[in-house]
């Protein structure tokens, strides 16, 4: 497992305080260092589902801190002052939409007229031809006057076949990583959790967040794509008081999902104490 500072620094973009990775090579780099993160983006060709997500990758606080300590993170380029170009693009887009709207209105009206024609000629085959023509002409004229094509019915084309984030020249300048972020003396994240994270990572485990199980981390014996998690890690300080009912509920949950609950407390000498909670099965 690679602990040396990586020659390739990944570009971390901050969205408020959330650390995001956008480039595929960055995702590959962090995965090779044993950091998993969580994909957040929707894929245009498979919308409306949460099973398969795309970039960006959201890093855990602890993962970001680890990258900074290894000097493997660099600030994403914060672009500013492209206002005029963007305004032009917005104007262009609006004009395109307006043109599309006008074309579609004409087509929609023609559709309605032909549907009306079909309906009236099929239902009035028995009545006189003269009366039919008169009624039909009246209806068609009324349609011409009153027909409006609603904006909500406008068909909009979204191009999904774009060649990816790294090929577009504007995007490339945004994503170029410039200033390296040095490891800060004061860690932004909870030091207790961070100590547990680095200790378990150092033992070769892969860690992700465990919100679904009411814990701090899910601990995998290998890459999460290949293994189920073995442990639900809960970080407490040695002297912190935990309610017995909470211990019972989390141990019971653990046994239901076939994971051991791990109480983790960082000690003063840098070592971390682990206690495994298991349902006793004594009925």
């Amino acid at each position: 497992m690679d602990n040396r500072p990586s020659s390739h620094a990944v570009g971390v973009s901050l969205c408020d305080s959330a650390p995001l990775l956008w480039r595929v090579e960055d995702l590959r780099t962090v995965r090779s260092q044993g950091l998993v993160g969580a994909l957040l983006g929707s894929l245009p060709r498979t919308p409306r589902q949460n099973v398969r997500l795309g970039r960006p990758l959201l890093l855990l606080e602890e993962e970001e801190t680890l990258l900074r300590e290894r000097q493997a993170a660099a600030a994403g380029y914060q672009q500013d002052g492209r206002g005029a170009e963007l305004r032009l693009q917005v104007q262009q887009h609006q004009e395109d939409q307006q043109r599309s709207y006008e074309e579609q209105s004409v087509l929609a009206l023609e559709d309605r007229k032909s549907a009306l024609l079909r309906a009236m000629t099929s239902s009035h085959t028995e009545s006189g031809a003269g009366a039919l023509d008169g009624a039909l002409r009246g209806r068609l004229e009324a349609l011409d006057r009153s027909f409006t094509f609603p904006c909500s019915a406008l068909a909009v084309q979204l191009s999904t076949a774009r060649a990816g984030l790294s090929y577009c020249p504007e995007a490339r300048s945004i994503l170029r990583a410039d200033r390296p972020i040095r490891g800060r003396d004061e860690l932004s994240c909870d030091t207790g959790r961070y100590q547990v994270f680095t200790d378990l990572r150092g033992r070769g485990f892969y860690l992700t967040s465990a919100g679904k199980f009411g814990g701090d981390f899910l601990v995998y014996p290998g890459d999460p794509l290949r293994f189920h998690a073995h442990f639900i890690a809960i970080c407490v300080s040695k002297n912190e008081s935990v309610g017995l009912l909470d211990l019972l509920s989390v141990a019971r949950l653990g046994s239901n999902v076939k994971k051991t609950v791990l109480l983790c407390s960082p000690g003063p000498d840098g070592r971390v104490l682990y206690t495994s909670l298991q349902w006793s099965g004594m009925v």
Partner: protein, 151 residues
């Protein structure tokens, strides 16, 4: 004969727990937390009478100021430590480590107000969970196809 049946049917006194020798032994350890002593007694009765554990004894933990129980599940089995606690208590990881440091396998027992007992195993280190039990059947694509057909 009527005397014999009378004495057999005589009900135990209402405060029979207080007179029980095991309880009085626990009382002699001078723990101030009477709720914990009561919990310890209930666990003691469960281990000895219900689960038939052997050589069950009580001992005082000076650091935690509670009564711990020790016993063997069967003749010749290793000694285990049981920490009985009323269920509405809280405890720290440090206290758990104190009991673990005694060197015996540890069970935490939570005692509810209706005397329900719940045992939880505590072990030092990372204990890999049991793998899921087989036999496993590969459902293949059938499972996913079924899901998609749902409205």
């Amino acid at each position: 004969m009527s005397d014999a049946s009378n004495s057999a049917e005589k009900p135990p006194p209402p405060n029979w727990i207080l007179h029980h020798p095991a309880y009085q032994q626990m009382k002699s350890l001078e723990i101030e937390d009477s709720a914990q002593v009561h919990a310890a007694f209930l666990v003691f009765m469960d281990l000895t009478e219900v689960r038939q554990w052997k050589e069950v004894s009580c001992v005082k933990s000076p650091e935690l100021q509670v009564i711990l129980l020790e016993g063997r599940e069967k003749e010749g089995a290793p000694v285990q430590t049981v920490l009985p606690l009323p269920v509405h208590r809280s405890l720290s990881h440090k206290s758990i480590r104190h009991v673990l440091d005694r060197g015996f396998p540890m069970l935490l027992c939570a005692v509810a107000c209706d005397s329900t007992l719940v045992y939880q195993r505590m072990t030092d280190g990372l204990v890999t969970p049991d793998p899921p039990a087989g036999p496993f059947q590969d459902l293949g694509r059938r499972q996913h196809r079924k899901r998609r057909q749902k409205p």
